[in-house]
């Protein structure tokens, strides 16, 4: 009897390990920024030639940084959700226009709507590197102290928005 139990046990163990492995997403690289101070942000704005977007000016607020580009197809998929979110919520949604052409970015927003409170332009992608961006779109949630509390890689879907981002933002806002 035990002769058969051992191979069966090994099989079950292997099946369990592989099943867990299937569920993992290898593209999801844990961000080293979680619960650490957000990297610097100091960039020109898309819609206001002179003024700059800086991390310092956002201190004391809960804000969301959404990295997007007009060439990014997946960004199109999450854009409706961001539009909805900006209508429902008064959280500052900062757009980081990543390695894009200004004209393309403006056309894109004219077509799909602009959910952003303010848009920073990172034409060379240097700020993207500072923030460890590797797959547009990416979404960061930053608390009042300027700490990164959450990062989502790839398009935000309705579930992530409802179950993760919105509750987190509400919690951070109510906290002192």
């Amino acid at each position: 009897m035990t002769r058969y139990l051992l191979p069966l046990g090994i099989f079950l163990l292997l099946a369990a390990v592989l099943a867990v492995g299937l569920k993992l997403n290898p593209r999801e690289v844990p961000s080293p920024f979680i619960d650490k101070p957000a990297p610097a942000l100091d960039l020109p704005q898309l819609f206001d030639g002179g003024a700059r977007v800086t991390g310092a000016s956002l201190k004391g607020k809960v804000w969301i940084l959404n990295v997007w580009a007009s060439w990014c197809l997946e960004c199109r998929r999450e854009h409706g959700l961001l539009n909805d979110f900006s209508r429902r919520s008064n959280v500052t949604l900062v757009g980081l226009n990543y390695k894009d052409a200004d004209a393309d970015a403006r056309n894109w927003l004219a077509e799909l709507g602009n959910p952003y409170s303010v848009i920073a332009v990172d034409r060379e992608g240097d700020t993207g590197i500072e923030w460890g961006v590797y797959g547009v779109p990416e979404t960061f949630v930053i608390d009042k102290e300027g700490m990164v509390r959450y990062k989502h890689i790839g398009p935000v879907d309705a579930l992530v928005m409802r179950d993760t981002i919105e509750p987190l933002v509400a919690r951070l806002e109510s906290g002192s």
Binding site: P26, R27, V29, P30, S31, P32, P39, K99, G125, G128, I129, E130, W131, G132, Y134, G135
Partner: protein, 151 residues
């Protein structure tokens, strides 16, 4: 015509390799360091390629960054620390030994140990059971049969 087509076939793959930018270095040592670094850093977009092999835009940006830092006199360690601070330890093709990667590093030795233990116990069991009782007459008969055949 045929010959031209063959040449084209030979040359086309080498174009793919030429995607790596030409860079200028002050000395061969710096150049070697640069190539060593981009070999060891992973491209986050195509995760099974290093920075040196990848044609992804981010890989190119990170190669630029590496080059920029190396020519600014930064050490290898400063550059890898810069990458790890932004992209996590995942950018390192050779993960450092720590609590999370312990299993990864120790698994080969562990598995070899288990294999050796299984092998040892099998050999021992076989040796213990390999001496069946044969009475002297049978033994003598067997020996004479074998001897006859040899002769």
């Amino acid at each position: 015509m045929m010959r031209a087509a063959l040449w084209a076939l030979i040359l086309v793959p080498s174009l793919a390799l030429a995607a790596i930018e030409s860079r200028e270095f002050d000395d061969p040592l710096t150049e070697a360091r640069y190539h060593d670094l981009i070999d060891k850093l992973r491209c986050l977009v195509c995760q099974n390629q290093n920075l040196a092999d990848s044609n992804a835009e981010l890989a190119r940006d990170l190669r630029d960054k590496t080059y920029e830092m190396i020519t600014a006199g930064k050490s290898d360690e400063e550059i890898t620390d810069f990458m790890v601070a932004r992209y996590g330890e995942f950018v390192l093709y050779e993960p450092p030994f720590n609590i999370h990667t312990m299993l990864l590093w120790l698994a080969p030795a562990l598995l070899a140990g288990i294999g050796a233990a299984v092998f040892y116990s099998l050999v021992r069991r076989r040796r213990d059971t390999a001496a069946p009782d044969v009475d002297a007459a049978d033994m003598e008969k067997a020996r004479s049969l074998l001897g006859n055949r040899d002769a």
